[in-house]
């Protein structure tokens, strides 16, 4: 089996490391597969830790918004190990499958949900030169993969053989169809400005102006597009005020009513991974990606290949993504939930036309200036 040279050339740091130390005669595809395996392993660990941190953060944020502390005991310092303890509890819980459920589909659904979101995250660079897959159609790949979670959710709702779950699944299907369009259209606006779907390149192209050449500052139509994207991303990730598929006061727990233990935690992890993914996309395509004055300074001082610059860039991206997650949490604990017809009205009647206007405006602006 021959791996095209272009793919090898554009491989990641893990591949380079392996290639350096591998004994002679090992075919490249073995190296590539090993590198991919290592990368995916690191990615899964990274996202799991991140999801656990986000859960802890969500509880802290909600606690402080609601005049309480949130977890304070497990692990000592501000309950930092609470998520870990909850994870262990979920792992050790009995695996329940309802009697009337469609067993294969019921078991497959959480796997599809989690696998698709992990798949989408493989296109995400951790730092400018540490990444797992450098895909030219990176953004397209992310949108395609993250849309697949819907299939898992609908599958879960249908297979649970519970009427509440079915309502949740139907809501999810309707909601995602309505919000994929404004989500994609809103992303077209920065794409018109930056001209690439590759996440690393998009970030690299925003490095001017001492690291403040962000896309939101390049074109007046990108900022409204950011707001539209954020709104659509909330609906896409099933976060309040668009958490209708799981609306606990209406549908008990929506599509995951019948799930428990580890399977339920898959859905839970997917929610936080999706939040992270959407925040990373927003950070890279609207808010400068790795770039910031600090990153600029690090590159000036230490050079683009130095670990210090790489770490700074990665940290800046993480910070931007965490801020996006914090905004989502803030909204969740402040706003009531909208009704399904209002969700549809907002998606089709307002967000989509507004996003189209933004695309048109950005295009005209780019053509003129």
């Amino acid at each position: 089996m021959n791996v095209p040279m272009s793919a090898v050339e554009r491989s990641n740091v893990f591949y380079d490391l392996l290639a350096k130390f591998a004994p002679a005669g090992v075919p490249t595809w073995v190296l590539a597969l090993t590198a991919a395996g290592v990368g995916v392993g690191i990615l899964i660990t990274f996202v799991s830790v991140l999801a656990m941190f986000s859960v802890w953060m969500e509880r802290k944020v909600s606690g402080h918004i609601q005049c309480r502390y949130g977890p304070m005991y497990v692990g000592g310092w501000h309950g930092w190990a609470q998520s870990l303890a909850d994870g262990i509890k979920l792992l050790s819980k009995e695996d329940l499958i309802p009697l009337g459920a469609d067993r294969p589909l019921f078991m497959l659904a959480p796997a599809i949900v989690l696998a698709s979101i992990f798949g989408a995250l493989t296109a995400m660079p951790l730092t400018p030169s540490v990444y797992f897959a450098d895909i030219d159609l990176g953004l397209f790949f992310i949108l395609a993969m993250s849309s697949m979670t819907t299939i898992g959710v609908v599958m879960a709702g249908w297979a649970s053989a519970s009427k509440w779950s079915l309502y949740g699944a139907m809501r999810e299907a309707a909601q995602v169809v309505a919000y994929e369009i404004p989500l994609g259209l809103a992303l077209l606006v920065p794409l018109l400005v930056v001209g690439t779907l590759n996440l690393r390149e998009a970030s690299e192209l925003q490095s001017g102006w001492y690291g403040m050449h962000w896309l939101v500052f390049q074109n007046p139509f990108v900022f409204p597009a950011l707001l539209l994207f954020f709104t659509a991303a909330l609906a896409e990730t099933k976060r309040a005020p668009f958490d209708l598929p799981e609306a606990e006061s209406e549908l008990v727990a929506g599509f995951m009513t019948e799930y428990s233990g580890i399977r339920w935690s898959f859905f839970f992890m997917e929610e936080y991974a999706a939040m992270f993914l959407m925040s990373v996309v927003a950070a890279i395509f609207f808010l400068g990606g790795f770039e910031s004055p600090v990153t600029h300074l690090a590159r000036e001082q230490f050079g683009a290949d130095s670990p210090i610059y790489q770490a700074t860039a990665g940290f800046v991206l993480l910070l931007k993504a965490m801020f996006g997650i914090f905004l989502m949490m803030w909204l969740r604990w402040t706003l009531p939930r909208v009704r399904i017809d209002q969700v549809m009205t907002m998606g089709y009647k307002y967000l989509t036309p507004l996003a189209l206007v933004c695309v048109l405006g950005a295009g005209v602006w780019e053509a003129i200036f």
């Binding site: 079915l166 006061s249 604990w333 009531p336 939930r337 017809d341």
Partner: protein
Amino acid sequence: MSSESRGSIHLDEAPRTLASGEREFMLDVHTQDLEVNMGPQHPATHGVMRILIRTDGELVTGAQPHLGYLHRCAEKIGENVEWLQYLPYTDRYDYLSAMNNNLGYSMAVEALMPGLEIPRRAQMLRTICVELNRIGSHLVAMGTYGLDIGAFTPFFYAFREREWMMALFEKICGARLTYSYIRIGGVFNDSPPGWLQEVERFCDVFEEKWQEYYDLLVVNQIFVQRTANVGVISKAMALDFGLTGPMLRGSGVDFDLRRDMPYMLYGEMTKQKVFDVIVARGEMGTLGDCWDRLYVRVVEMMESIKQVRWCLDNIKPGPVLGDIPKVLRIPIGEAYVGIENPRGELGHYVVSDGGKIAVRCRVRGPSFVNVAVLEELLPGTLLADAVAIVGSTDVVIGETDR
């Protein structure tokens, strides 16, 4: 998946008409009807009420509330224990406003004792406790209604103040939920030193915090969109169903027992224009919608504060319990006394044959009457609206089932 459920109760075909023309597009889509049990264990039914709803997609086409999961024979117990012994049972029907229940029962029994005089300080303490309890009850109503709509935070804000209110009650009677503080003939004991000052501090803080609820929940744009024009009860319908309390005033009927059939000190307060009766005006949508009912409850809390303040200004030292014998023997007679509970008119009808035990003890619970309107309101709404409407009736299942 089949919608056939064993032992399903047949609902009459409900007309697929909608209150607002906005959602008529739903009518073109016909799907298989699903019969769903909302409750007895469902987050939105506030207890163990069960509503059997039939849905066509998201559209509710029929609804039937089923009660009785929390039936504890309260009225029958009232006919088997001594007059004073029944008092703790009254705490348990509307557990969010136990003081009011105590008062209703005590006043019904006192109506049968012509010679009995309730000391003025006792009446003042009664009013303070009852109104504080009304605030606490409306706080829960508001907070849980926020939960129904999907807003979590107002619930915690509401409980922050309710916690203080319960601490106040704990100081005066030792209990936080089931007080049995208001007794036949007065109140159980005098307020501890410093208690009245703390109530005043509570009033000061509450007035400040009240604005938070108002801004965060009541006039929140999403909240208004979710509740305005939803579950509209017309004036005529409210009167036909015998609704009382905020449910009635939310439909624009200007009626409050405290003003219109005054009892205790409320007549005096009405003369001095201490408080207003809050009546909805349909500001955000149609008169009588869910928003109006919540609005009445939230604004009413401030009126309760005014009443408490009036009592604090006028309270003087004195006895707190009238001349009541250890073993009560109530003269022959019958009496009905209705008082304004947070949820409406709580009526007690008691009959005495001159003995130590009531011959008849009948309770008219406001939640029980108010919940009847659901069967009429729910058909033609969306599932999420159904939750909003059930929440806006503010039923306490302990009282509907008693």
